[in-house]
Symmetry: C3
Subunit: 272 residues, 3 copies
């Protein structure tokens, strides 16, 4: 389930099935998210209107809800879409951008948990913040949308949040961690230049949705997504001298990524 061969199989299935991914996401990352999904072989669609989301989400193979630039109009659409996805067993991923740092969206995120996200994917501050919210702890984390905490510091919070929410929790960082509350898998791919490109975390969320659309095991899908982006990122980083060309090269790498590359480069470590 966590072997490089499994990652390669997920990648192949995305190309074959071309899953439709419904994104309700923030206005900063719409373009890069769509381009990442296209490069991977999926079919992205951004549909936000409350008049449209319920009709559309049931055609989709997976849903992304990203709270990065939430408004109250978008919050309403998010709840409608998440509820419908939950009712129709359509897998969905929540990206709690800025949770813990900003009250309004933190409450929206709590409300959305009622609709059983398959995966919650965030940076360490966001996972710490959301876990504190669900346990009514005082908020600890978060300044803006970039993380102040390290991913290993957020691991206990992730396990606690996964147990509470029954969702897989995926934390990005120098090492990525994915957990279902008991099992913990570490992914050692990626490059230190990646945080200098906006939207790569949000892209990881969208790629997680694409993996969920073709992979029954939620924890495997979450792991495979971090490997796919991490391998693309570290291969791209070797070719470039800054974040502008890194972003371009990641798209090229994701498009070209084949089984041989993944067998060679995937670094997955089940640690618990």
């Amino acid at each position: 389930m966590f072997s490089p061969k499994d990652v390669a199989l997920t990648r192949k299935r995305i190309r074959e099935k071309v899953p439709l991914i419904h994104n309700i996401t923030n206005v900063v990352v719409t373009q890069i998210t769509a381009n990442m999904l296209l490069a991977l072989g999926a079919s992205p669609a951004m549909v936000n209107a409350r008049e449209e989301v319920e009709e559309f989400v049931i055609k989709a193979n997976a849903l992304v809800i990203n709270l990065g630039t939430i408004t109250h109009f978008q919050a309403e659409s998010m709840k409608l879409a998440a509820k419908m996805a939950d009712n129709h067993h359509i897998p969905w991923v929540m990206d709690p951008v800025g949770i813990g740092a900003i009250s309004y969206r933190s409450h929206v995120a709590l409300d959305l948990l009622a609709y059983h996200p398959s995966v919650i994917r965030g940076n360490p501050s966001e996972i710490i913040g959301l876990n504190a919210m669900v346990h009514r702890h005082p908020l600890m984390g978060g300044r803006g949308v970039d993380s102040l905490a390290r991913s290993d510091e957020a691991l206990l919070a992730a396990q606690s949040l996964a147990q509470y929410s029954q969702s897989i929790v995926s934390i990005s960082g120098k090492t990525d961690y994915v957990t279902d509350g008991k099992q913990v898998v570490a992914i050692h791919n990626g490059d230190a230049m990646m945080p200098y490109v906006t939207g790569l975390g949000c892209s990881a969320t969208a790629i997680t949705a694409a993996c969920l659309a073709v992979q029954q095991s939620k924890i495997a899908a979450a792991v495979h997504a971090m490997v796919l982006l991490g391998v693309a990122g570290e291969r791209a980083a070797k070719q470039v001298k800054g974040p502008g060309s890194l972003c371009v090269a990641i798209l090229d790498e994701l498009y070209q990524m084949d089984e041989a590359t993944l067998l060679h480069a995937s670094k997955i470590e089940p640690i618990q």
Copy 2:
């Protein structure tokens, strides 16, 4: 009207006149659309507010209405702008993104037809979907925003839609087709990697608007636009290894495109 020399003349006039293109478009493609128009030599402006669109559109040389991430606020602005454009004989292009797949926007698109778009430019599923709407057929097409149909399959729908709407209809695909309901022109430029970059269809729409701003013949403008983007795309595709660098290279090619390139590379075939 359809010779490579005519395309080169349109391209030259855009550089000389620097037409102001008013875009009411979706949040995924705002940046790439603006960059495409700038690379071509036009002056893009994105103005969405209902308080602003009527005042602004009459200063513009052409209007783009793209339904990709429509909300009811944007729908209101679209109707105000299209009505004003129609009244003031400002050419405008409608891009019916996702029409046929989603009900709400399909009805907005129908309403907008009353304001006589100069050109309707979409992918095969969208043209099939819109034509079915206007003839009250059961909807046939569309899953998301990517097309499931081929452009030649949509050609009859395009001719029917053009006759009904009195608009030019432009279909993108492996071969692009442009029709006024009787005459049909095929464009054989472009590259198979182009659908892996988000917003190239929407960019074709915006380039169509720029061509309309300097070219009296609506059908010629629609044809020239598909050639300009297609030639840029196929020249760019030869230099790159993936969709990230393809997008960058298309902008460079569009910026550099000169008469010699167009005379050599344009592949226009009036077929009916």
Copy 3:
């Protein structure tokens, strides 16, 4: 204050402090703005909701308000955020995109002046337009969002506007000018290809905010920002053949920019 060494010091401090920059900006430039700030070493966050801006802005080290695609919802958030920034002495920059060309946003800009922007950064048409507004002159400038006037033609308007508003005024153009109403500083960096990339003016605004977050002198911050972007732009332009790759290369240059480069390339001329 205006020496190349001072620019290098500001650049170094941004890397060290990683200032949080709150952006309420337009939907065309969100991605490029965030990427520019990240490449520079700052931490960008786009937060627009009226439920969130007051809570968030007081955590930020500087605020950007950009009127490029304003709606009445965003106008409300802008006023709330600017008022709070003013009350809490958080520096903020206004980018009056399209002011002078469009009435609604021109009135919003006038209202925002009451909250004392640290810097107003615009193109020549916008500065001429805003100055005409504050002095109740008939509007002179502006067609769309690209400037019809040259930066030297706007200099008198800039000085008048700076005196009226007590803000620093920064005009971008072939030569950039920064003034506090009395002192005038010219910056001779940049490249003629830069206007063919969307969002570079808006990026200059965001970079100005990042400089304000680490530099007490408002006029120095405004000058340093134009040098940083101008040097990145002219170095990038030497490597590329069009605006697509120019944008990518500017991000790389901004990321790599070190003291030696700035000492060598900065062209600052206090002229009054």
